[in-house]
Each structure stands twice: as structure tokens, then as C-alpha cells.
Symmetry: C2
Subunit: 119 residues, 2 copies
């Protein structure tokens, strides 16, 4: 089981719950401590990561699919094998053009992802 | 082109050089700033990540292949879709059993990966 302060060292895909974000997005929080957090995000085509910003540094690896990614004023189409970097406070968002998965990694930890949901 | 302090936001796989580590390992440094760094590591079967430790927190996603991963005293076989977390200073290493790729992410940046090589 995961503890509050940090994850297990070994994170087996089938053993970790997925959280449904909306009908086209779900996420799995995997390795983390206070300093860093990895989150797998599965998108169906048409899924949208709304434009937003945060103080964390972010790096993301595109495992599969096709994503129209906006960072600041620039828009690019990214495919499996590509990756991107979001500086702190930079506004960013994406539209999933073909079903796929992103590996988002934040520093420091996204505390908001670990907080209990409000009813 | 990458700057010293941080990477480009958009990182297209085909545009970024691979660094050969040995005859079974090569790596591609992708998104980074002072706080975080993502590194793709391609392994051929039999490739070894020697046991080592560092002060950085590390999270890794297994894109493909099969890896016998040791973290501290524990050893597990990890496949594509699995991931792992290395606490600061924890000793760790891996043996690649089937060709594949790891996405290593460190916080803070691995400055040693950006330093010019000594002759």
C-alpha cells in the first residue's frame, strides 16, 4: 500500500487503481515523494487537458497516441516517443487527437492530487 | 537548441541526439530545468545499470522490455507499463532481460549529465 509521504518503490501496473477524471480521461498516480510525482494519464480521442498553469515544473513523455499540445503561445502535434517541458507558471493544455497515454512528472509533488475529494 | 538552464518546451524524438553509454545502453536527455530532468534510456538485452545511489529523488516508467530491478534489498521483475520510485540515497540498479526503454525522471536536475565530458 502507498503511504501518505511517499509511494512504494515497486509499482506494478495492474495493482494500482485508476481514477476517472471524465469520460475521456483517467489517471494513475504512481511513484512520488514530496519532491517529485509521476502520473500516468490515459486519453481517449477528443479528451481535453484544459489550459491551466501551476507553480510546479513538469516534464511529460508521450507513450502513445497523438496530442495537440499548447505551451504558452506555441502549439505542436506530439506523437509517441516525443516529450515536452512545462516551466513553472507556464500556461498549457492539450487536445487528444488519437487515443493514447501521457506520463506526467511534476516537481515538487502535486499535493492537490493526493487530497481527499470534497463531497 | 537546448539552453544550459532549461530545455526547449517541445522535444521531438527525432531531433534530439542519443548519447552512447556502452554497447548496450544509450540515453537521450529530454525535458529539464534546475528542479527536474527527464532522461530516456534505451537498453539492449543484457544491459546493466550498475548498483549506485544519488541524492536525487527518482521516478521511472518502463515503456517496454523486461527489467530485473533492485531497490535496496528487494528485487522485482518489471515490464512495460510498470514503474518504480527511488528514494534519495537508496541503492539501486537493473539488469535488462528483454530489450526496452526506461523513462527516468530526477529531482533536482542531474547536473552531472549536463557537464562536458573530460578527455
Amino acid at each position: 500500500m502507498m503511504q501518505n509521504g511517499e509511494s512504494n518503490p515497486f509499482l506494478i501496473n495492474e495493482e494500482i487503481p485508476w481514477e476517472v477524471i471524465d469520460d475521456k480521461l483517467s489517471r494513475q498516480i504512481v511513484g512520488y515523494d514530496n519532491q517529485i510525482m509521476m502520473v500516468k494519464v490515459q486519453f481517449k480521442a477528443g479528451g481535453i487537458g484544459q489550459m491551466h498553469s501551476h507553480f510546479h515544473s513538469q516534464v511529460t513523455y508521450v507513450v502513445s497516441g497523438l496530442f495537440e499540445m499548447t505551451i504558452g503561445d506555441e502549439k505542436r502535434l506530439l506523437k509517441g516517443g516525443d516529450s515536452f517541458y512545462i516551466p513553472p507558471h507556464a500556461i498549457h493544455g492539450c487536445v487528444c487527437k488519437e487515443e493514447g497515454m501521457l506520463i506526467d512528472v511534476f516537481s515538487p509533488q502535486r499535493e492537490d492530487f493526493l487530497e481527499p475529494k470534497e463531497l
